[in-house]
Protein backbone atom coordinates (compact mmCIF):
# COMPACT_ATOMS: atom_id res chain seq x y z
CA UNK A 1 0.00 0.00 0.00
CA UNK A 2 1.52 3.29 -1.06
CA UNK A 3 2.04 6.06 1.47
CA UNK A 4 -0.15 8.48 -0.49
CA UNK A 5 -3.02 6.06 -0.39
CA UNK A 6 -2.48 5.35 3.31
CA UNK A 7 -2.58 9.06 4.07
CA UNK A 8 -5.67 9.55 1.94
CA UNK A 9 -7.44 6.65 3.65
CA UNK A 10 -6.32 7.69 7.14
CA UNK A 11 -7.90 11.12 6.60
CA UNK A 12 -11.36 9.70 5.88
CA UNK A 13 -12.46 9.13 9.53
CA UNK A 14 -11.95 12.83 10.20
CA UNK A 15 -14.79 13.78 7.85
CA UNK A 16 -17.74 14.70 10.11
CA UNK A 17 -20.37 11.98 9.94
CA UNK A 18 -18.02 9.19 8.85
CA UNK A 19 -18.97 6.22 11.04
CA UNK A 20 -16.55 3.70 9.58
CA UNK A 21 -14.47 3.03 6.50
CA UNK A 22 -12.66 0.00 5.23
CA UNK A 23 -10.57 -1.05 2.30
CA UNK A 24 -9.65 -4.51 1.03
CA UNK A 25 -6.59 -5.10 -1.08
CA UNK A 26 -6.47 -7.68 -3.88
CA UNK A 27 -4.42 -9.97 -1.60
CA UNK A 28 -7.32 -10.04 0.89
CA UNK A 29 -5.71 -7.78 3.48
CA UNK A 30 -8.08 -5.29 5.02
CA UNK A 31 -7.67 -1.95 6.70
CA UNK A 32 -10.50 -0.36 8.61
CA UNK A 33 -11.29 2.61 10.81
CA UNK A 34 -14.37 2.92 12.93
CA UNK A 35 -15.76 3.07 16.42
CA UNK A 36 -14.15 0.15 18.27
CA UNK A 37 -17.45 -0.90 19.85
CA UNK A 38 -19.79 -0.60 16.88
CA UNK A 39 -17.43 -1.12 13.99
CA UNK A 40 -14.33 -3.02 15.12
CA UNK A 41 -11.83 -3.99 12.42
CA UNK A 42 -13.20 -7.56 12.18
CA UNK A 43 -16.69 -6.26 11.53
CA UNK A 44 -15.50 -3.90 8.81
CA UNK A 45 -13.66 -6.80 7.18
CA UNK A 46 -16.81 -8.92 7.34
CA UNK A 47 -18.91 -6.10 5.90
CA UNK A 48 -16.49 -5.72 2.99
CA UNK A 49 -17.03 -9.38 2.19
CA UNK A 50 -20.82 -9.19 2.64
CA UNK A 51 -21.22 -6.12 0.45
CA UNK A 52 -18.94 -7.64 -2.14
CA UNK A 53 -21.36 -10.58 -2.25
CA UNK A 54 -24.33 -8.21 -2.43
CA UNK A 55 -22.68 -6.47 -5.33
CA UNK A 56 -22.06 -9.68 -7.28
CA UNK A 57 -25.53 -10.19 -8.80
CA UNK A 58 -25.51 -6.61 -10.05
CA UNK A 59 -22.07 -6.97 -11.54
CA UNK A 60 -23.10 -10.27 -13.10
CA UNK A 61 -26.09 -8.61 -14.73
CA UNK A 62 -25.56 -6.01 -17.40
CA UNK A 63 -25.28 -3.14 -14.93
CA UNK A 64 -21.53 -3.03 -14.16
CA UNK A 65 -22.01 -0.54 -11.32
CA UNK A 66 -19.28 1.94 -10.49
CA UNK A 67 -20.56 1.89 -6.93
CA UNK A 68 -23.65 1.15 -4.87
CA UNK A 69 -25.14 3.09 -1.97
CA UNK A 70 -27.29 1.26 0.54
CA UNK A 71 -29.46 3.87 2.24
CA UNK A 72 -30.64 2.65 5.62
CA UNK A 73 -32.69 4.66 8.11
CA UNK A 74 -29.73 5.70 10.26
CA UNK A 75 -26.78 5.29 7.97
CA UNK A 76 -25.69 5.04 4.36
CA UNK A 77 -23.20 2.48 3.11
CA UNK A 78 -21.20 3.18 -0.02
CA UNK A 79 -19.48 0.20 -1.62
CA UNK A 80 -16.94 0.90 -4.35
CA UNK A 81 -15.25 -1.97 -6.21
CA UNK A 82 -12.30 -1.46 -8.52
CA UNK A 83 -11.47 -3.58 -11.53
CA UNK A 84 -8.10 -4.41 -9.93
CA UNK A 85 -9.99 -6.03 -6.99
CA UNK A 86 -9.53 -3.23 -4.49
CA UNK A 87 -12.72 -2.61 -2.49
CA UNK A 88 -13.78 0.43 -0.49
CA UNK A 89 -16.61 0.57 2.06
CA UNK A 90 -17.81 3.76 3.72
CA UNK A 91 -20.48 4.01 6.43
CA UNK A 92 -21.80 7.52 7.01
CA UNK A 93 -24.56 9.25 8.90
CA UNK A 94 -27.20 10.65 6.56
CA UNK A 95 -27.22 14.39 5.87
CA UNK A 96 -23.70 14.98 7.15
CA UNK A 97 -20.53 16.25 5.58
CA UNK A 98 -19.46 12.63 5.06
CA UNK A 99 -22.68 11.84 3.20
CA UNK A 100 -22.16 14.84 0.95
CA UNK A 101 -18.56 13.78 0.32
CA UNK A 102 -19.36 10.22 -0.73
CA UNK A 103 -19.12 10.85 -4.45
CA UNK A 104 -15.86 12.74 -4.13
CA UNK A 105 -14.29 9.99 -2.00
CA UNK A 106 -15.52 7.26 -4.34
CA UNK A 107 -14.17 9.11 -7.36
CA UNK A 108 -10.83 9.62 -5.58
CA UNK A 109 -10.66 5.88 -4.98
CA UNK A 110 -11.51 4.88 -8.51
CA UNK A 111 -8.93 5.23 -11.26
CA UNK A 112 -9.62 8.19 -13.55
CA UNK A 113 -11.98 7.39 -16.40
CA UNK A 114 -10.60 7.75 -19.89
Amino acid sequence: MKADFKNWFAALPAIPGMLACGVRQPNGKCLGYGDDKIYPAEKIEKLLKQFSELHEPLAAAEFSPRWTTWAFEYGHIRFVPRADKWLLLLIVSPETEAARELDRVANDFLPPTK
Binding site: L54, L58, I91
Partner: protein, 345 residues
Amino acid sequence: MAKEKKSEHERRILIVDDDADYLATIGDSFRALSEGRWQMCAAASAEAALKILQTEAIELVVADINMPGQDGIQFIGELHRRHPQIKKVVMTALASEEKNAASRAAGANLFLEKPVSPEGLKSVFEKLCELIDWKNTQGFQGVLRSVGLPDLLQMECVGKNSSILELFHEHPLGRIYIDQGQITHAVCGEIFGERAFQKLFTITGGTFELLDFEVPPERTISRPWEVLLAEALRQREQLAQRAQAGKKILTADETAAAPAGQTAEMLISSGAGEVLYHWQCADAAARVTLLQKIAERAEKLIPELQLGKLDRVEIQLADGRAILQPRADRLVFVRVAAPTEKNES
Protein backbone atom coordinates in the same frame (compact mmCIF):
# COMPACT_ATOMS: atom_id res chain seq x y z
CA MET B 1 -30.36 47.63 11.35
CA ALA B 2 -28.23 45.87 13.95
CA LYS B 3 -31.30 45.05 15.99
CA GLU B 4 -33.06 43.57 12.97
CA LYS B 5 -30.05 41.41 12.19
CA LYS B 6 -29.95 40.07 15.73
CA SER B 7 -33.63 39.17 15.81
CA GLU B 8 -33.19 37.31 12.50
CA HIS B 9 -30.90 34.84 14.24
CA GLU B 10 -32.80 34.43 17.49
CA ARG B 11 -33.89 30.88 18.16
CA ARG B 12 -36.37 29.66 20.72
CA ILE B 13 -35.38 26.36 22.28
CA LEU B 14 -37.39 24.33 24.77
CA ILE B 15 -35.63 21.95 27.18
CA VAL B 16 -37.83 19.37 28.92
CA ASP B 17 -36.35 17.69 31.98
CA ASP B 18 -37.57 17.02 35.51
CA ASP B 19 -34.14 17.86 36.97
CA ALA B 20 -34.29 21.57 37.89
CA ASP B 21 -30.51 21.88 38.34
CA TYR B 22 -29.89 20.36 34.94
CA LEU B 23 -32.44 22.70 33.32
CA ALA B 24 -30.71 25.72 34.84
CA THR B 25 -27.22 24.55 33.89
CA ILE B 26 -28.01 23.64 30.32
CA GLY B 27 -30.10 26.76 29.84
CA ASP B 28 -27.26 29.00 30.99
CA SER B 29 -24.68 27.07 28.96
CA PHE B 30 -26.60 27.14 25.69
CA ARG B 31 -27.41 30.81 26.17
CA ALA B 32 -23.71 31.54 26.66
CA LEU B 33 -22.55 29.31 23.79
CA SER B 34 -25.06 30.91 21.43
CA GLU B 35 -23.96 34.37 22.60
CA GLY B 36 -27.51 35.18 23.56
CA ARG B 37 -29.06 34.14 20.24
CA TRP B 38 -30.89 31.21 21.81
CA GLN B 39 -33.88 32.07 23.95
CA MET B 40 -34.13 29.20 26.38
CA CYS B 41 -37.49 27.93 27.64
CA ALA B 42 -37.72 25.18 30.26
CA ALA B 43 -40.37 22.68 31.29
CA ALA B 44 -40.20 20.11 34.07
CA SER B 45 -42.69 17.73 32.45
CA ALA B 46 -44.24 16.80 29.12
CA GLU B 47 -47.52 18.39 30.18
CA ALA B 48 -45.81 21.70 31.01
CA ALA B 49 -43.92 21.56 27.70
CA LEU B 50 -47.11 21.10 25.68
CA LYS B 51 -48.58 24.18 27.38
CA ILE B 52 -45.53 26.25 26.45
CA LEU B 53 -45.77 25.02 22.87
CA GLN B 54 -49.29 26.43 22.63
CA THR B 55 -48.04 29.96 23.17
CA GLU B 56 -44.38 30.05 22.12
CA ALA B 57 -42.91 29.69 18.62
CA ILE B 58 -40.42 26.96 19.53
CA GLU B 59 -38.00 25.75 16.86
CA LEU B 60 -36.27 22.96 18.72
CA VAL B 61 -37.30 20.74 21.63
CA VAL B 62 -34.75 18.75 23.62
CA ALA B 63 -36.35 16.20 25.95
CA ASP B 64 -35.08 13.82 28.59
CA ILE B 65 -36.50 10.28 28.60
CA ASN B 66 -37.09 9.53 32.25
CA MET B 67 -39.70 11.93 33.55
CA PRO B 68 -42.69 11.45 35.81
CA GLY B 69 -46.00 11.10 33.97
CA GLN B 70 -45.56 10.96 30.21
CA ASP B 71 -41.99 9.89 29.46
CA GLY B 72 -39.76 11.65 26.94
CA ILE B 73 -40.32 9.19 24.08
CA GLN B 74 -44.12 9.33 24.46
CA PHE B 75 -43.86 13.10 24.61
CA ILE B 76 -41.79 13.22 21.40
CA GLY B 77 -44.41 11.02 19.71
CA GLU B 78 -47.19 13.38 20.74
CA LEU B 79 -45.15 16.43 19.78
CA HIS B 80 -44.44 14.81 16.42
CA ARG B 81 -48.14 14.39 15.73
CA ARG B 82 -49.11 17.86 16.95
CA HIS B 83 -46.15 19.89 15.68
CA PRO B 84 -44.34 17.93 12.95
CA GLN B 85 -42.41 21.01 11.85
CA ILE B 86 -40.59 21.38 15.20
CA LYS B 87 -37.19 19.73 15.37
CA LYS B 88 -36.96 17.20 18.16
CA VAL B 89 -34.04 15.77 20.11
CA VAL B 90 -33.99 13.13 22.84
CA MET B 91 -31.11 13.53 25.28
CA THR B 92 -30.56 11.00 28.03
CA ALA B 93 -27.92 10.03 30.56
CA LEU B 94 -28.58 6.34 29.92
CA ALA B 95 -28.28 5.94 26.17
CA SER B 96 -28.88 2.59 24.50
CA GLU B 97 -29.55 1.32 21.00
CA GLU B 98 -33.13 0.42 21.98
CA LYS B 99 -33.84 3.91 23.28
CA ASN B 100 -32.25 5.40 20.19
CA ALA B 101 -34.47 3.29 17.92
CA ALA B 102 -37.59 4.05 19.99
CA SER B 103 -36.82 7.79 19.96
CA ARG B 104 -36.27 7.82 16.21
CA ALA B 105 -39.45 5.83 15.65
CA ALA B 106 -41.36 8.36 17.78
CA GLY B 107 -40.13 11.18 15.55
CA ALA B 108 -36.88 12.42 17.12
CA ASN B 109 -34.43 13.93 14.66
CA LEU B 110 -31.48 13.26 16.94
CA PHE B 111 -30.70 11.01 19.89
CA LEU B 112 -27.91 12.27 22.14
CA GLU B 113 -26.21 11.34 25.38
CA LYS B 114 -26.30 14.01 28.08
CA PRO B 115 -22.95 15.80 28.19
CA VAL B 116 -20.84 15.43 31.33
CA SER B 117 -18.05 17.87 30.48
CA PRO B 118 -17.73 21.37 29.02
CA GLU B 119 -16.33 19.83 25.83
CA GLY B 120 -19.29 17.45 25.66
CA LEU B 121 -21.67 20.33 26.18
CA LYS B 122 -20.05 22.26 23.36
CA SER B 123 -20.23 19.23 21.09
CA VAL B 124 -23.95 18.80 21.85
CA PHE B 125 -24.53 22.50 21.22
CA GLU B 126 -22.81 22.21 17.83
CA LYS B 127 -24.95 19.21 16.89
CA LEU B 128 -28.09 21.12 17.87
CA CYS B 129 -26.91 24.12 15.83
CA GLU B 130 -26.42 21.87 12.83
CA LEU B 131 -29.88 20.39 13.28
CA ILE B 132 -31.58 23.73 13.74
CA ASP B 133 -29.92 25.16 10.64
CA TRP B 134 -30.48 22.04 8.63
CA LYS B 135 -32.60 22.40 5.55
CA ASN B 136 -33.34 19.57 3.21
CA THR B 137 -32.20 20.72 -0.18
CA GLN B 138 -32.65 17.35 -1.79
CA GLY B 139 -36.37 17.20 -1.40
CA PHE B 140 -39.17 18.26 0.84
CA GLN B 141 -38.47 18.50 4.53
CA GLY B 142 -40.90 16.27 6.30
CA VAL B 143 -42.11 15.22 9.68
CA LEU B 144 -38.91 13.29 10.20
CA ARG B 145 -35.45 14.42 9.24
CA SER B 146 -34.88 11.13 7.52
CA VAL B 147 -38.25 10.92 5.81
CA GLY B 148 -38.71 12.46 2.41
CA LEU B 149 -41.81 13.14 0.39
CA PRO B 150 -41.75 9.76 -1.42
CA ASP B 151 -41.48 7.95 1.91
CA LEU B 152 -44.38 9.82 3.42
CA LEU B 153 -46.53 9.26 0.35
CA GLN B 154 -45.71 5.59 0.43
CA MET B 155 -46.48 5.34 4.13
CA GLU B 156 -49.85 6.99 3.64
CA CYS B 157 -50.72 4.88 0.61
CA VAL B 158 -49.52 1.54 1.94
CA GLY B 159 -51.27 2.23 5.25
CA LYS B 160 -54.45 3.00 3.27
CA ASN B 161 -54.69 6.31 5.11
CA SER B 162 -56.71 9.34 4.16
CA SER B 163 -54.93 12.68 4.41
CA ILE B 164 -53.88 15.81 2.58
CA LEU B 165 -50.24 16.58 1.99
CA GLU B 166 -49.73 20.33 1.80
CA LEU B 167 -46.46 21.54 0.32
CA PHE B 168 -44.78 24.86 0.96
CA HIS B 169 -41.86 26.81 -0.39
CA GLU B 170 -42.03 30.10 1.52
CA HIS B 171 -45.75 30.08 0.68
CA PRO B 172 -48.22 27.24 -0.01
CA LEU B 173 -47.53 25.54 -3.33
CA GLY B 174 -50.20 22.92 -3.56
CA ARG B 175 -51.88 19.85 -2.14
CA ILE B 176 -51.95 16.12 -2.75
CA TYR B 177 -55.13 14.32 -1.63
CA ILE B 178 -54.86 10.72 -0.45
CA ASP B 179 -58.13 8.84 0.04
CA GLN B 180 -57.84 5.42 1.68
CA GLY B 181 -54.40 4.86 0.25
CA GLN B 182 -55.10 6.16 -3.26
CA ILE B 183 -53.92 9.49 -4.62
CA THR B 184 -57.12 11.03 -5.92
CA HIS B 185 -56.38 14.67 -6.52
CA ALA B 186 -53.50 17.14 -6.73
CA VAL B 187 -53.50 20.85 -7.19
CA CYS B 188 -50.57 23.21 -7.79
CA GLY B 189 -51.59 26.77 -8.57
CA GLU B 190 -53.76 26.61 -11.65
CA ILE B 191 -52.73 23.04 -12.50
CA PHE B 192 -54.67 19.95 -11.44
CA GLY B 193 -54.32 16.18 -11.65
CA GLU B 194 -51.21 14.23 -12.54
CA ARG B 195 -49.43 17.27 -13.95
CA ALA B 196 -49.83 19.05 -10.62
CA PHE B 197 -48.64 15.94 -8.77
CA GLN B 198 -45.51 15.69 -10.92
CA LYS B 199 -44.79 19.39 -10.56
CA LEU B 200 -45.11 19.29 -6.76
CA PHE B 201 -42.93 16.23 -6.60
CA THR B 202 -40.03 17.73 -8.51
CA ILE B 203 -39.70 20.99 -6.59
CA THR B 204 -36.76 20.97 -4.20
CA GLY B 205 -36.03 22.80 -0.99
CA GLY B 206 -39.55 23.07 0.41
CA THR B 207 -41.44 21.67 3.36
CA PHE B 208 -44.61 19.66 3.72
CA GLU B 209 -47.28 19.08 6.29
CA LEU B 210 -49.83 16.31 6.71
CA LEU B 211 -53.36 17.62 7.19
CA ASP B 212 -56.61 15.91 8.13
CA PHE B 213 -58.45 14.53 5.12
CA GLU B 214 -61.19 16.51 3.42
CA VAL B 215 -63.03 15.38 0.32
CA PRO B 216 -61.35 17.06 -2.68
CA PRO B 217 -63.43 19.33 -4.89
CA GLU B 218 -63.04 16.78 -7.68
CA ARG B 219 -61.19 13.57 -8.49
CA THR B 220 -58.49 14.29 -11.04
CA ILE B 221 -56.19 11.27 -10.58
CA SER B 222 -57.16 7.67 -11.16
CA ARG B 223 -53.94 5.77 -11.90
CA PRO B 224 -52.43 3.61 -9.10
CA TRP B 225 -50.18 5.47 -6.69
CA GLU B 226 -47.28 3.08 -7.40
CA VAL B 227 -47.23 4.15 -11.03
CA LEU B 228 -47.51 7.84 -10.19
CA LEU B 229 -44.74 7.60 -7.65
CA ALA B 230 -42.42 5.68 -9.95
CA GLU B 231 -42.92 8.23 -12.71
CA ALA B 232 -42.38 11.09 -10.27
CA LEU B 233 -39.18 9.51 -8.96
CA ARG B 234 -37.99 9.02 -12.51
CA GLN B 235 -38.67 12.64 -13.37
CA ARG B 236 -37.05 13.89 -10.18
CA GLU B 237 -33.97 11.82 -10.88
CA GLN B 238 -33.72 13.24 -14.37
CA LEU B 239 -34.09 16.78 -13.13
CA ALA B 240 -31.44 16.26 -10.47
CA GLN B 241 -29.06 15.01 -13.11
CA ARG B 242 -29.88 17.86 -15.41
CA ALA B 243 -29.40 20.39 -12.62
CA GLN B 244 -26.07 18.82 -11.68
CA ALA B 245 -24.91 18.62 -15.26
CA GLY B 246 -26.03 22.16 -16.02
CA LYS B 247 -24.71 23.48 -12.67
CA LYS B 248 -27.88 25.43 -12.09
CA ILE B 249 -30.86 25.13 -9.81
CA LEU B 250 -34.12 24.68 -11.63
CA THR B 251 -37.05 26.77 -10.55
CA ALA B 252 -40.47 25.28 -10.00
CA ASP B 253 -41.65 26.46 -13.41
CA GLU B 254 -38.55 25.12 -15.12
CA THR B 255 -38.98 21.72 -13.48
CA ALA B 256 -42.54 21.53 -14.72
CA ALA B 257 -41.45 22.52 -18.20
CA ALA B 258 -38.39 20.27 -18.30
CA PRO B 259 -38.81 17.51 -20.83
CA ALA B 260 -38.65 13.86 -19.85
CA GLY B 261 -36.94 11.31 -22.04
CA GLN B 262 -33.91 9.92 -20.20
CA THR B 263 -35.61 7.05 -18.40
CA ALA B 264 -34.07 3.82 -19.53
CA GLU B 265 -36.21 1.41 -17.53
CA MET B 266 -38.92 1.30 -14.88
CA LEU B 267 -40.39 -1.61 -13.01
CA ILE B 268 -42.81 -2.20 -10.13
CA SER B 269 -43.48 -5.65 -8.78
CA SER B 270 -45.55 -7.00 -5.92
CA GLY B 271 -43.80 -8.45 -2.89
CA ALA B 272 -44.49 -11.89 -4.31
CA GLY B 273 -42.64 -11.03 -7.51
CA GLU B 274 -45.60 -10.38 -9.78
CA VAL B 275 -44.82 -7.65 -12.32
CA LEU B 276 -47.37 -4.87 -11.71
CA TYR B 277 -45.96 -2.34 -14.13
CA HIS B 278 -42.92 -2.09 -16.32
CA TRP B 279 -41.61 0.15 -19.01
CA GLN B 280 -38.79 -0.77 -21.36
CA CYS B 281 -37.75 -3.88 -19.40
CA ALA B 282 -36.53 -6.40 -21.94
CA ASP B 283 -37.15 -9.25 -19.51
CA ALA B 284 -39.20 -7.97 -16.57
CA ALA B 285 -39.45 -11.36 -14.84
CA ALA B 286 -35.67 -11.83 -14.88
CA ARG B 287 -35.20 -8.30 -13.62
CA VAL B 288 -37.60 -8.95 -10.70
CA THR B 289 -35.71 -12.13 -9.81
CA LEU B 290 -32.43 -10.21 -9.74
CA LEU B 291 -33.85 -7.37 -7.65
CA GLN B 292 -35.52 -9.75 -5.22
CA LYS B 293 -32.22 -11.57 -4.77
CA ILE B 294 -30.45 -8.32 -3.92
CA ALA B 295 -33.24 -7.22 -1.58
CA GLU B 296 -33.26 -10.58 0.22
CA ARG B 297 -29.50 -10.55 0.72
CA ALA B 298 -29.64 -6.99 2.01
CA GLU B 299 -32.51 -7.86 4.35
CA LYS B 300 -30.34 -10.48 6.04
CA LEU B 301 -27.73 -7.86 6.89
CA ILE B 302 -30.16 -5.48 8.59
CA PRO B 303 -30.03 -6.93 12.16
CA GLU B 304 -26.24 -6.97 12.12
CA LEU B 305 -25.82 -3.47 10.74
CA GLN B 306 -28.08 -1.80 13.34
CA LEU B 307 -28.79 1.02 10.91
CA GLY B 308 -32.55 0.55 10.76
CA LYS B 309 -34.62 -0.40 7.75
CA LEU B 310 -33.23 -0.40 4.23
CA ASP B 311 -34.85 2.46 2.36
CA ARG B 312 -33.25 2.16 -1.06
CA VAL B 313 -30.25 1.05 -3.03
CA GLU B 314 -28.71 3.58 -5.37
CA ILE B 315 -26.60 2.15 -8.15
CA GLN B 316 -24.13 4.38 -9.96
CA LEU B 317 -23.66 3.07 -13.47
CA ALA B 318 -21.16 4.02 -16.12
CA ASP B 319 -24.00 5.43 -18.19
CA GLY B 320 -26.50 6.60 -15.58
CA ARG B 321 -28.03 5.69 -12.26
CA ALA B 322 -30.61 3.29 -10.90
CA ILE B 323 -32.65 3.20 -7.71
CA LEU B 324 -34.16 0.13 -6.13
CA GLN B 325 -36.74 0.57 -3.37
CA PRO B 326 -37.47 -2.76 -1.71
CA ARG B 327 -40.60 -2.92 0.44
CA ALA B 328 -42.44 -5.84 1.99
CA ASP B 329 -45.32 -5.48 -0.44
CA ARG B 330 -43.49 -4.32 -3.57
CA LEU B 331 -40.26 -3.50 -5.35
CA VAL B 332 -39.78 -0.29 -7.29
CA PHE B 333 -36.88 0.01 -9.72
CA VAL B 334 -36.04 2.98 -11.90
CA ARG B 335 -33.01 3.29 -14.17
CA VAL B 336 -32.11 6.63 -15.67
CA ALA B 337 -29.56 7.15 -18.42
CA ALA B 338 -27.02 9.92 -18.02
CA PRO B 339 -27.96 13.07 -19.89
CA THR B 340 -26.40 13.30 -23.31
CA GLU B 341 -24.56 16.38 -24.55
CA LYS B 342 -27.64 17.32 -26.50
CA ASN B 343 -29.92 17.02 -23.45
CA GLU B 344 -27.62 19.09 -21.29
CA SER B 345 -27.55 22.06 -23.59
